[in-house]
């Protein structure tokens, strides 16, 4: 028997971000405060990417960072705000300036678009959006934003939305083996469909685990390695947001971020201090401070 040489897909965060080209389209994982790939947004900013299009339901701080730094020029999203704190100030400003276009969908519509992409069918039907301006108005997709059709079987009205197959899917998980088998704890949000819909998939994980451990508990694998092109392993990828079972959100940092983004000057201060002013993700974590990060670590059994 020939023993297979196992492929090691691990690369650095900088190498992973380099794979992304200007003008590319990205599925962006995480949901709300949970598992957003913030570190990846930092690196896209440091590498001065331009004109990216990002598809997601509603990440929060990362969307603010990429909008503020001019990395993205188009969002197809359902939600932009920092829940409990308030409006997404950077996105609001960039939209008013005309530097950013947002094509509006609902959370279910975006999830169905990822599901359709994962299934490799060009559209999916759903029952939302009908009767509202979400059908009537489009920012740049025009007739390709969505359509309202008659069901070919029942005649009922249904919305159909175009499926998405972005250049990259960017997904943040708790654990991964070096071949890419990824485990997600807690809610999955839209990451199951999102990780399958991209042409390439970059998985960012808090922790590396051995392939043998994965194969002992295969039903814990949420993303099989065969979907995964690159793996990046780093701690606190989601800071100042949370990663279920690993660390809580950093409310103080989050409030500071939200307050600073109320003005362009404040945002530039944050951008220059926490993102451009550091070498890499460890530079950022050093700046936040390890004693503080230690405090955020999740407590059993609560997971935060």
């Amino acid at each position: 028997m020939t023993e297979a040489e196992v492929e090691d897909k691990r690369i650095t965060l900088a190498e992973a971000a380099k794979k992304v080209s200007d003008e590319d389209t990205l599925f962006w994982g995480g949901f709300g405060y949970q598992r957003p790939p913030i570190a990846f947004s930092h690196e896209l900013v440091r590498q001065k990417k331009r004109n990216l299009t990002v598809y997601t339901c509603g990440s929060e701080v990362d969307l603010e960072i990429m909008a503020g730094a001019g990395v993205v020029y188009r969002y197809e999203i359902a939600f932009s705000a920092i829940e409990a704190l308030g409006l997404s100030n950077n996105i609001r400003r960039r939209v008013s300036e005309g530097a950013l276009q947002v094509e509006d969908y609902t959370n279910l519509a975006m999830a169905m678009r990822f599901l359709g992409g994962a299934l490799n069918v060009p559209f999916m039907p759903l029952r939302s959006m009908m009767g509202t301006d979400m059908v009537r108005l489009s920012r740049y997709r025009g007739d390709d934003k969505l359509k309202v059709i008659d069901c070919p079987f029942t005649g009922e009205k249904l919305t159909v939305v175009p499926s998405l197959k972005p250049d990259f899917s960017i997904v943040h998980v708790q654990r991964v083996d070096k071949t890419g088998n990824a485990q997600i704890d807690g809610i999955v949000g839209e990451d199951i469909e999102g990780s399958r819909c991209g042409k390439k998939l970059i998985v960012l994980a808090e922790e590396i685990i051995d392939e043998e451990e994965v194969r002992t508990r295969p039903d814990q694998t949420k993303i099989p390695a065969m979907y995964v092109d690159h793996v990046v392993v780093l701690p606190f990828i989601a800071h100042p947001m949370m990663c279920h079972g690993y660390y809580d959100y950093d409310l103080e940092h989050l409030m500071m971020f939200h307050k600073l983004t109320q003005t362009e000057e404040g945002w530039q201060e944050y951008l220059n201090g926490y993102i451009l002013g550091v070498e890499d993700h460890y530079g950022y974590l050093d700046l936040v401070g390890w004693p503080r990060l230690q405090q955020l670590k999740a407590k059993k059994p609560w997971g935060y």
Partner: protein, 256 residues
Amino acid sequence: MVEYSKTEFLIACASSHVRDGENVFGGTGMPLLAALLAKQTHAPRSNLISEAGFIDARPREVPLSVADTRYYYGCSASLGLIETLGFLLQGGRIDVGFLGAAQIDEYGNLNTSYIGPYDKPKVKLPGSGGGNDIASSAKRLIIMMSHDKRKFVKDLDYMTSPGHLEGPGSREKWSMVGNGPEVVITDMCQMDFEPETLKIRLKSVHPGYTVQQIVDNVMFDLLVPDEIPATAEPSQEQLDIMHKLDPKGIYLGKGA
């Protein structure tokens, strides 16, 4: 007499609309506190769901995000968006959804997307999130708004989520799963929808406010019945439970 803040009053009022055994989309903020309060008082078998994927959640502290891990421990299942918004909500299994908005019109249609013209918006608001999905498919919709003339408008700047659209028959036209808004709760009053026209109607006035104040702060013609009761006040038990749920005053504020 029980002392309470405006926020506490609104939460207790919203809580009264959750019935025992119902499946409730709680979200965050005041609606979440209202749903948790209902579960700890008159609706112990209500089932709190977060659209991020948590089913029958029993958070010991108030979550800040619908995806907050505070929703996890003690919940009965932890899944994803296709499950909550697709299988459950669009599947017709959610009894009550809560929504807020920047603007509402006389049919209960909601704007959470843009202030100003769509082509050159003055303010980009959060957008739909799951709001349009909830407004389309939850059996009943409870709307919470601050009572401000600029919010109760004749014409929305952008219609994000369907209320009763253009009135009778319009939700049916789109085969909507849910029945649309049932009640609008503001800091001055509760409003419901007149069954024939599906237009907003005054339902009860909160202590300390007059019908005139309410009418003056609405930009459309509000239906006002002859008899209008006062909205019930919260009990001390309700206030105590609220503060146990939000001990840091994240949503309730520091005062009492």
